[in-house]
């Protein structure tokens, strides 16, 4: 099979899911247009998606005349496009990392739902380290803070990994519990121990020189470079090293791995720690951009990682594209809210719908008569099937 056909067969179901999600989303937008616009507006989805696209890329292909008539016409403003594309890639960077945190787990037959907690712990560690080295020279401060964040995330991935490997506790439930636990513990620690006097709300100290340096545009920071560099590293690790081969073998068939002399236990611990490291880096980027850790730090990038991983078929390069796509949606959503008066939450609905259609791929296949490869990773079969085996 030629490379093009192979890529097509891999991406046809994700693409169909995106299109279907946008279609269902537009039905929702039309149905709810009386509440937002005052009357039923069949062209609202076009305006909404156009402003979303424009917010994400800076390219506009619609002009809305004063009398409300829509006219097609591509207008390109290079400066605006660069600004919009920068914000897209900035929003995509953490999503790529949380996508890897889920996708690499899939490879080993593990479902890491703990991205949220690992993001929080990674960001928290980075904030504490950043505040401690705030006065060091920039390269030293940034390196130490990033390493601390990666370590924090890895540590929080190690816990469910070790519990799964040595007690059999299923990682899905354990990571869900750890997500809430991280939130409670960190709120308490920031409020009681690490709060600095001064600001009106509880937060940790300024990270000073540990702030990620801006490399391009208004906010294109080192974080983008970190995320983009991790993608080929993850690819190399999984598909080009012995360790990666062992990880994939454990995912495909744990008993075969054991008979071949591999140690599934240590591979589980290692893989979940690595997943945690990726998610921890995502949190690190968020916090080292914000400049401090606020006591209440709400983030949805952990859960979005599941959509990214499945949309990218848990392949590092697929995850890169999926992350950029969802990053674009996040970057463009504020423009859509302003221009088309549509609540920003529609983005979450569309993301959920994409995931819904990816999950229902059997139906899509029959509906559209397409023959692509299965989206749900085969390794995942053992995940849900082992759900009940916790501590058995």
């Amino acid at each position: 099979m030629s490379v093009v056909r192979r890529i097509w067969s891999l991406s046809v179901i994700p693409l169909a899911s995106i299109v279907l999600a946008l279609l269902v989303g537009s039905i929702l937008i039309i149905a709810s247009s009386p509440a937002s616009q005052g009357s039923l507006d069949f062209f609202l989805p076009i305006r909404a998606y156009e402003s979303l696209f424009e917010g994400a890329t800076g390219l506009s292909f619609l002009n809305i005349e004063d009398d409300g008539v829509l006219a097609f016409g591509l207008s390109v403003d290079v400066e605006r496009a660069l600004r919009a594309l920068t914000s897209t890639i900035v929003a995509a960077a953490p999503l790529i990392l949380t996508g890897l945190a889920v996708g690499v787990g899939f490879k080993a037959g593990l479902f890491n739902i703990g991205g949220t907690g690992q993001v929080l712990v990674g960001g928290f560690f980075a904030a504490l380290a950043g505040a401690a080295v705030a006065d060091q020279p920039v390269p030293v401060a940034v390196t130490l803070a990033v390493l601390a964040g990666a370590f924090g995330g890895a540590l929080y991935g190690f816990i469910p990994g070790a519990l799964k490997a040595f007690t059999g506790a299923h990682e899905v439930v354990v990571t869900i519990m750890l997500n809430s636990l991280a939130a409670f513990a960190i709120v308490g620690l920031v409020n009681d121990v690490f709060k600095i006097p001064g600001p009106t709300f509880a937060r940790t100290g300024n990270i000073g020189n540990a702030a990620l340096p801006i490399l391009f545009g208004r906010d294109g920071s080192l974080g983008v470079l970190i995320a983009l560099a991790i993608v080929p590293i993850a690819y190399f690790l999984i598909y080009r090293t012995t360790l990666g081969f062992e990880i994939r073998t454990v995912g495909a068939n744990p008993s075969a791995a054991r008979y071949a002399g591999m140690s599934p236990r240590w591979l589980i611990v290692f893989t979940l720690s690595l997943c945690g490291l990726f998610a921890g880096l995502a949190g690190t980027i968020e916090i080292l951009t914000l400049g401090y850790y606020p006591a209440v730090f709400g983030t949805t990038i952990g859960f979005a990682g599941i959509t990214v991983a499945l949309l990218g078929r848990s392949h590092p390069f697929g995850i890169l594209f999926a992350g950029i796509l969802l990053g674009g949606m996040r970057a463009g959503a504020p423009a859509m809210q302003i221009q088309a008066d549509i609540p920003i939450e529609i983005i979450d609905v569309i993301q959920g719908l994409i995931l819904l259609f990816l999950a229902a791929e059997l139906v899509i296949r029959r509906l559209l008569r397409i023959r692509g490869e299965s989206v749900t990773p085969g390794e995942l079969q053992s995940v849900s099937r082992s759900y009940g085996e916790g501590s058995a």
Partner: protein
């Protein structure tokens, strides 16, 4: 008895026990626990219905949230349509509230139907299906709530007031207070738990459900329609998630906020595991988890006397936020401990998570 309090280390435990006996007898600790445990227990019943039939459900959170939203919106709508209705003296029933509860239950069943369809017919990964439900529920209710911006409210159900003589009875008075001074949904929980426990372990339906959850192939061989039974149980489980949602917006609060389930669905999941997939066990788990929460409130408003009180208030004044969060975090820690097999073992139905394909079909 006082000398027990002075023992080293053990004394603290006796002091705590003494405090608990006093608090249960004189304060609202017991009814408050049962009240807070209501959505957890109902969500857990939903989880038991699903997982006993062999379907993993991590989407309880999303089911509850959708139901809470639908129930609230419908209740507000009905309330605006008939503004002159006086609430009944009995639990403060109004048509708006009752129709709201029905709408919440219908919404819970509808979302469960989606979960059933994805898990059973489409044979999608059941954990992904649950995640889909959680993400869409959060997004959709947030989107619609922002769009509609409901201004009114349909009020809430009232708690029942048992006769004072009953509460004042020695020794058993607190039990009446615990189970009777509650709203209608909270009060129904104990009945539902017992009914489901009996049905699951003493009825033909229960035997079939457990068979389908443990060994669907064997169940199929003896003529049980596995697919149909799983569908029915998952959708009926949605009734409980719907009631939990109704409790949030029609009994406990009189409003809807985005993401207001605040992880209750996940605590319910924990209660299912903690209770070893039985309704009574899950109810016990829900009570234990929320007792921790209620105890935190009770200690804050009415600190224990003696050494224990001094120690607790010392911790509280030095680490107020950590101290409060520790009570909320307890359910999650306990669940991890149980899952790790440190205290007893929790074994799930054997076929949970496995889609069923009838032999001879593909």
């Amino acid at each position: 008895m006082e000398f027990l309090y002075d023992l080293p280390v053990l004394g603290f435990i006796f002091q705590l026990a003494g405090y608990l006996v006093g608090a249960v007898a004189t304060t609202n600790l017991a009814p408050q626990t049962l009240q807070l445990a209501t959505p957890i227990a109902l969500g857990a019943l939903c989880g038991v219905m699903n997982e006993r039939s062999g379907i993993v459900n991590i989407g309880i959170e999303g089911m509850m949230l959708t139901a809470a939203f639908a129930g609230f919106m419908v209740a507000v709508f009905v309330d605006e349509a008939m503004p002159d209705v006086q609430p009944s003296a009995f639990f403060g029933f109004t048509p708006a509230l009752i129709i709201g509860v029905l709408a919440a239950v219908a919404a819970g069943m509808l979302v469960s139907l989606l979960h059933a369809w994805l898990s059973i017919s489409v044979r999608a990964d059941q954990i992904i299906s649950g995640t889909v439900i959680n993400i869409i529920a959060l997004g959709l209710t947030g989107y619609l709530n922002r769009l509609i911006r409901p201004s009114g409210s349909a009020g809430t159900f009232n708690s029942f007031r048992p006769p004072q003589e009953l509460i004042d009875l020695p020794v058993v008075g607190w039990i009446f207070r615990m189970f009777l001074s509650l709203g209608p949904i909270s009060m129904s929980v104990i009945v539902l738990v017992i009914v489901l426990q009996v049905l699951l372990f003493r009825s033909r339906w229960g035997l079939r459900t457990r068979a389908v959850g443990e060994h669907p192939r064997a169940a199929d061989t003896v003529g049980i329609d596995v697919i149909w039974l799983r569908y029915r149980n998952v959708v009926l489980g949605g009734v409980f998630a719907g009631l939990a949602g109704a409790w949030l917006t029609l009994e406990f609060n009189a409003s809807f906020q985005n993401g207001m389930t605040a992880n209750r669905g996940f605590i319910a999941l924990a209660a299912v595991i903690f209770g070893r997939w039985t309704p009574l066990g899950a109810f016990g788990g829900a009570l234990l988890f929320m007792f921790s929460e209620a105890l935190g409130v009770a200690i804050r408003s009415n600190p224990p006397a003696g050494e224990l009180g001094v120690w607790l208030s010392g911790v509280q004044s030095t680490y107020p936020s950590l101290y409060n969060n520790a009570f909320s975090a307890l359910p999650y820690i306990l669940t991890i401990i149980v899952l790790a097999g440190v205290v007893g073992r929790s074994i799930a139905p054997a076929a949970v998570g496995q889609p069923y394909v009838k032999e001879g079909t593909t």
